[in-house]
């Protein structure tokens, strides 16, 4: 098997412009068979444009995109039966039940043998099979969307922001479904602006900002190579601790909970700071040492926050 055939998605110098505005600017990447690939970026970074070009909803301005070895601009008819798509802001026919919706999409793909019951069970909608779409909560709607994306037993599944707008509980329920897909060995192309989502699910994360891919690797590697520091959090009585740390040449930051965050390079720094605290007579209430996460990697790479707050959902379940 050649190296090329290992990739189910090959994107080469892809550019998409809306008028003069480049939404996606000369990006290239490949996705291997069986991996979960996450395109991580803030709103407006170009995630949806990219995924919609790959899954044949949009056409590129320039560049080459091959999906399952076929040019997406020329072979839509051959590609579509082999992929499953959950578009951004997925919605379905209001008065059609969960089961009927599944049957409809299964008929569109002419799948005579689609195991609708198994798919409904997979996304944990058994109790809601006879419920009309309009009566489902946001999380249940998304789960139905995922089940629909799987109705033709696709080789590649595209999920465009599958948990946006969901509350934390509903989001976790969707993640469980996605972890199931990962375990089943499906190739999944995911876009998200939730770093926990990318960190939890993805084998490879590509960080996209302003239409450009600025970093791409496994979540662990991204953190390792971009954030070679630790964050020491100290909670103390009084404000003396800040001055002590600052005098030592570190750059402390006060966080929302009035505790102190200090970036340190290793455990030696931590020991030095703790000794200095003791010498200065500062009484510590609490102490925590953390490795940085993708959010901090993103902040470092782009200088902008990934999104405001981590829960941020408006949907309810």
């Amino acid at each position: 098997m050649t190296k090329k055939t290992e990739y189910v998605i090959e994107v080469e110098k892809l550019t998409k412009r809306y008028g003069d505005l480049p939404a996606v600017n000369d990006i290239s990447f490949n996705v291997r068979k069986g991996e979960v690939f996450a395109l991580l970026g803030p709103n407006g970074a170009g995630k949806t444009t990219t995924v919609e070009i790959i899954d044949t909803i949009r056409t590129p301005t320039s560049g080459k995109v091959r999906l399952l070895g076929m040019d997406v601009t020329k072979k839509k008819r051959d590609i579509v039966p082999r992929i499953g798509v959950l578009p951004q802001g997925f919605s379905s026919f209001d008065r059609i039940t969960v089961r009927e919706t599944m049957q409809y999409y299964s008929r569109l793909f002419c799948c005579r043998n689609a195991d609708i019951d198994r798919l409904i069970a997979l996304v944990n909608l058994n109790d809601k099979a006879k419920e009309q779409y309009m009566n489902l909560s946001g999380g249940l709607k998304q789960r139905l969307g995922i089940a629909i994306a799987l109705v033709n037993d696709p080789e590649v599944v595209f999920l465009d922001e599958p948990t946006t707008g969901l509350d934390p509980r509903a989001r976790r329920e969707v993640w469980e479904v996605l972890l199931g897909l990962k375990q089943a060995g499906k190739t999944v192309f995911l876009t998200t602006h939730y770093m926990e989502e990318a960190e939890l699910l993805a084998d490879t994360v590509a960080i996209i900002s302003k239409g450009k891919i600025i970093a791409m690797d496994s979540p662990v590697q991204l953190i390792e190579s971009n954030a070679d520091y630790l964050v020491l959090t100290l909670q103390s009585i009084g404000e003396k601790a800040f001055d002590v740390v600052e005098k030592m040449g570190f750059a402390p930051e006060l966080n929302n909970h009035k505790s102190l965050n200090v970036k340190v390079t290793g455990t030696d720094d931590i020991r030095k700071i703790l000794n200095a605290m003791e010498d200065a007579g500062v009484s510590l209430l609490n102490m925590d040492v953390r490795k940085p996460n993708l959010e901090q990697v993103f902040l470092k790479l782009t200088g902008e926050a990934l999104h405001e707050g981590t829960s941020g959902g408006k949907g309810a379940e």
Partner: protein, 371 residues
């Protein structure tokens, strides 16, 4: 074209329609209400006799004969007005649009005229009327003819120029029979245009069309399922309208193969126009407004409700540029006038137009996010 896919989409549309009770109610009952309301309003157009108030100031045997003659013509139901009251006041009080006053000395003058040939022995019959009334002109014209015949009879000579009516129709049609094909054409147009615009803009706004574009369903499959759906709705509402027309107004219309053909052409035309509108107008609300802007002139100017002859000449010319005109006229040619040649002619014109807008409609249907 995949028939399985078309049928699956059709079933989804029909289930949605059936479960959306308000839409179902209005789609089926609106045309029926229209037939009932307009049929009742325009029933007067077919009325063969009018109410007539007669004030006999002479109160003689001869004038009593006049009242009898007027009743016998079959044109009037005569009501006698007390000779001692003021006719104008009577008309105003009782909202009567015409009071015919037979003057005093009518009988005497009549005798002088007939027996002595006195040229000065004439009488003036007064019409006290309300000029704002629609039917009063017709009534006065009928009375003029009756009195002209009376004068001619009294002259003792046979009439010279006589008239004979030869109808181009096998039978006289009633206004309600003229009206029903127009309402059918109009109801099918409204349902097809609004249905297409509403459903497609809603599905597009909700992203369902985008989802469908990632499945094997093609634009043609989708458009064909739209057409079939609208055709089934059209058949349901047309059947309901015809049942009501037969049951309530006892119409006599010819139902043959032309009826489904014109309904199909009506559906094709307005689903096609609906698809083009959906492409041009992005928002669901503006799309509905645009559909209204098309429907209203079409409804009133294409002869659905009123015969074109009632309209100014330039509007008559304009009507011939409206597609609904050809559906109206085609349906009337087949259902009322039994004129197959005319029906074929209208079918050919609307058929060509339907094919054109239907193809444009398919082209206009945006399946991929192109730009």
């Amino acid at each position: 074209m995949n028939l399985r896919v078309v049928v699956a989409s059709l079933v989804v549309s029909l289930k949605s329609f059936y479960r959306e009770k308000t839409t179902m109610f209005f789609t089926t009952t609106f045309p029926i209400l229209l037939i009932l309301v307009f049929g009742t309003i325009f029933q007067d157009q077919d009325k063969l006799n009018f109410d007539l108030c007669l004030q006999d100031l002479d109160q003689t045997q001869t004038t009593a004969e006049i009242a009898k003659t007027l009743s016998l013509t079959g044109k009037f139901n005569v009501t006698k007005v007390d000779p001692n009251i003021d006719a104008t006041q009577y008309a105003k009080t009782n909202q009567v649009n015409l009071v015919v006053i037979i003057p005093k000395d009518y009988e005497k003058s009549c005798i002088r005229y007939l027996q002595f040939g006195d040229p000065n022995a004439f009488v003036t019959i007064k019409f006290v009327y309300d000029p704002s009334s629609n039917s009063v002109d017709t009534k006065m014209r009928i009375l003029d003819i009756i009195f002209a015949k009376l004068n001619q009879g009294m002259s003792g000579k046979p009439p010279f120029a006589m008239t004979e009516e030869i109808s181009i129709l096998t039978r006289k049609y009633r206004f309600i029979e003229f009206f029903i094909p127009g309402v059918i054409a109009m109801a099918v147009m409204t349902a097809s245009l609004f249905g297409t615009v509403n459903v497609n803009t809603e599905l597009r706004q909700k992203g369902i069309i985008r989802k469908l574009s990632t499945t094997p369903i093609t634009r043609s499959d989708w458009v064909l399922s739209n057409i079939l759906y609208q055709f089934i709705l059209a058949v349901i509402s047309t059947t309901a309208m015809l049942i009501v027309s037969y049951a309530v107004f006892d119409v006599k219309l010819q139902i043959n193969a032309w009826l489904p053909l014109f309904i199909v052409l009506d559906v094709f035309t307005f689903v096609g126009i609906g698809l083009i509108l959906t492409r041009i107008v992005k928002e669901a609300q503006s799309a509905a407004a645009a559909a209204n802007a098309l429907i209203f002139p079409m409804m009133f100017l294409s002869g659905s409700f009123f015969p074109l002859e009632m309209m100014p000449r330039f509007l008559q010319t304009f009507a011939r540029a409206l597609p609904l005109y050809y559906v109206n006229e085609g349906l009337r040619a087949s259902m009322v006038f039994h004129d197959n040649a005319a029906a074929l002619n209208y079918a050919a014109i609307i058929g060509t137009f339907a094919a054109l807008v239907f193809i444009l409609g398919i082209i206009a249907t945006k399946w991929e996010e192109g730009n």
